[in-house]
């Protein structure tokens, strides 16, 4: 094999400061996901509920007969609840392979031999999922609010419901952070994306089924803390000033969310390493 002497020269150009590599990881991940048509279809589908709500807002603003469709504070709560199905699918589609695929290809040692820390790597991977989940929760909810302002031609609805912007932000953030951190932690546990998807589905459905079974036997709804999705709904009711659906205290719901996020961070700290020590 000839050595192409002209092909390798010392590099004299600039280098970015350390701490920016997570952006490289995030951008590459986002580009990769966006290059898949199936995913683009899923993204478009996730905006259908927004279109339906936007049409309702338009009709309510312009036709007296459709005034019953006028948005209320709970409309946004219901909208974000609807979006949770897309949060589920996008979390599985985007998130299951984020770390698992790197583990399968032994890529962690390549990443971590570069000037980036383990937490930068995790931040880059989390950012990929975060961006898409924000795109189907916070972004359409805020846009729906802007659509309402636009069609109504006044800020009176927003003035009457000043809590809506922080509520949308806080609840979306809780949805996105819980889904991202849980999925990343699960993705770090396996080399198979499919298995990770199954684990995540199992976590959601099994815990919900467990709660429903226990509720059926005991009649107690404070046991909703057993199911992360129900915990999130309880938290959402409190954030949007809606009557709570379970007898579970809000502080318990918030604690469960924080424990799940903290537990995920603990798993990631243990699993995202360049060297796996098998004892």
């Amino acid at each position: 094999m000839p050595i192409h002497d002209q092909g390798y020269q010392r590099y004299a150009g600039s280098r970015a400061r350390t701490g920016a590599a997570w952006q490289v990881i995030a951008l590459a991940g986002i580009r990769t996901v966006l290059s898949e048509r199936k995913f683009l279809g899923l993204l478009l589908l996730s905006w259908v509920p927004f279109l339906v709500r936007a049409v309702q807002v338009y009709l309510a603003a312009n036709f007296q007969q459709a005034s019953f469709l006028a948005p209320k504070g709970e409309t946004f709560r219901e909208f974000l609840e609807t979006q949770s199905i897309f949060v589920f699918f996008i979390t599985i589609y985007v998130g299951s392979g984020l770390i698992a695929a790197d583990r399968r290809a032994n890529a962690l040692q390549l990443y971590l031999a570069k000037p980036l820390s383990r937490w930068e790597y995790v931040a880059g991977k989390a950012a990929v999922l975060f961006v898409f989940l924000v795109f189907v929760t916070f972004a359409p909810a805020v846009l729906l609010l802007l659509v309402q302002i636009g069609f109504a031609g006044s800020l009176s609805f927003v003035r009457q419901n000043l809590y809506l912007v922080p509520a949308i932000t806080l609840y979306s953030l809780a949805q996105v952070l819980l889904a991202s951190s849980t999925m990343l932690a699960l993705s770090s546990l396996s080399k198979s994306s499919r298995f990770v998807g199954v684990m995540y589905s199992g976590l959601i459905f099994f815990t919900a089924a467990l709660f429903n079974a226990v509720r059926g036997v005991t009649g107690q709804t404070w046991l909703a803390f057993l199911s992360p999705s129900d915990v999130l709904e309880q938290l959402g009711d409190a954030i949007f000033r809606q009557p709570p659906r379970f007898d579970m205290p809000v502080w318990l719901a918030a604690t469960v969310v924080l424990v799940l996020i903290g537990g995920s961070a603990w798993v990631l700290e243990r699993r995202v390493r360049a060297v796996e020590v098998v004892s």
Binding site: M1, I3, H4, D5, G7, Y8, Q9, R10, Y11, G13, S14, R15, A16, R17, T18, A20, A21, V24, I25, A28, T32, G97, A101, D102, R104, A105, N106, A107, Q109, L110, Y111, L112, A113, K114, P115, L116, S117, R273, A274, V275, V277, V278, S279
Partner: protein
């Protein structure tokens, strides 16, 4: 033959400050002591890290990269402390791991450019250097293929490319010829030697293949069972100039080995029933013949040979 400690051999490096310096480093891997109180200095240029499988070579490289925290000792790379400056060190070194490794779902050029970006290169520079480096390692024609479709030899080359793309001052190459066919192996060794001799890149080449180290390196650090057993220039590690003979006797080879050792000669068996005998002084062949004749053993083959690194390796790790 066994050694009780590292053999300090050879003259000091021309560049007095070592690129890698370990002082009393111990690493525990699970329950296993993988490095035992290792002190070693790697001078600039190409240095071989030699030892049998399980000697602790890869563990040492991973500790130097900051992947594993040592339980004791200090490590400095390019003058920087590994504990406090791991990221700065990693921006100046390239690592070619032993096992297959790639970023999934990428073509070769996208993969190498991505590695350049991760190391801090601007996008355009990373892409330009990815093309250059892929040509340099001989993957120019295959650079748009997905890495997952590469053969074992091509995967070795792309691992070298990703380690080189950000122009490191120091390269860690962990078993760089693993799984390569003879032609590919020769080409990889030529590349490694070119990097060290013509491109000014410092190298640490970890290998259990002595010819690879002899071909590419000026200095060598020999590891065995987690300890450093010798270090120095290749010539120095090969040991004092002795006459080396290949010897085969009829029937009772073990008795001959015993006789030679009793007479004060170093002697190692090989896989081919041929032992290698190290004889100081000038009267080698006559002395061996005399010893065999006086004990009634028939010499079937006696030929003078050249001392190799394998001889030194067998000597310092204490076995054939």
């Amino acid at each position: 033959m066994s050694t009780t400690g590292p053999i300090p051999v050879g003259p000091p490096s021309p560049d007095a400050s070592p690129v890698v310096d370990l002082q009393g480093v111990s690493v525990v891997y699970g329950r296993q002591l993988a490095l035992r109180d290792v002190s070693a200095a790697f001078p600039s240029g190409a240095v071989g890290l030699l030892g049998p499988n399980g000697a602790g070579k890869s563990t040492m490289l991973k500790a130097l990269l900051g992947f594993i925290a040592p339980t004791q000792g200090r490590m400095r790379v390019l003058g920087l402390d590994v504990t406090t400056s791991a990221l700065e060190i990693r921006s100046r070194i390239g690592y070619m791991p032993e096992s297959d490794a790639h970023i999934p779902g990428m073509s070769a050029v996208a993969f190498v450019a991505y590695c350049g970006q991760l190391a801090g290169l601007p996008d355009a520079d990373a892409m330009q250097r990815a093309h250059e480096v892929l040509y340099y390692v001989g993957l120019g024609e295959a650079r748009y293929r997905n890495v997952e479709t590469y053969s074992t030899g091509m995967k070795q080359r792309i691992k070298l490319a990703q380690a080189l793309v950000h122009d490191p001052d120091l390269l860690f190459l962990d078993e760089p010829t693993n799984g390569m066919d003879p032609k590919g192996r020769d080409e990889m060794l030529v590349l490694i030697r070119d990097l060290a001799q013509n491109k000014g890149v410092n190298l640490i080449v970890s290998s259990h293949l002595l010819p690879d180290i002899e071909f590419t390196c000026d200095h060598v650090v020999v590891m065995d069972k987690g300890a450093m057993v010798a270090q120095g220039t290749l010539d120095a590690v090969k040991g004092p100039q002795m006459q080396v003979f290949e010897l085969r006797v009829k029937d009772d080879a073990e008795r001959m080995v015993g006789l030679l050792r009793a007479a004060g000669y170093e002697c190692h068996d090989t896989d081919d029933d041929v032992m290698r005998v190290f004889v100081p002084g000038e009267s080698g062949a006559a002395a061996i013949f005399g010893l065999a004749a006086s004990h009634g053993l028939q010499v079937r083959h006696l030929r003078q040979s050249v001392p190799t690194l394998e001889d030194a390796f067998a000597r310092v790790v204490g076995g054939a």
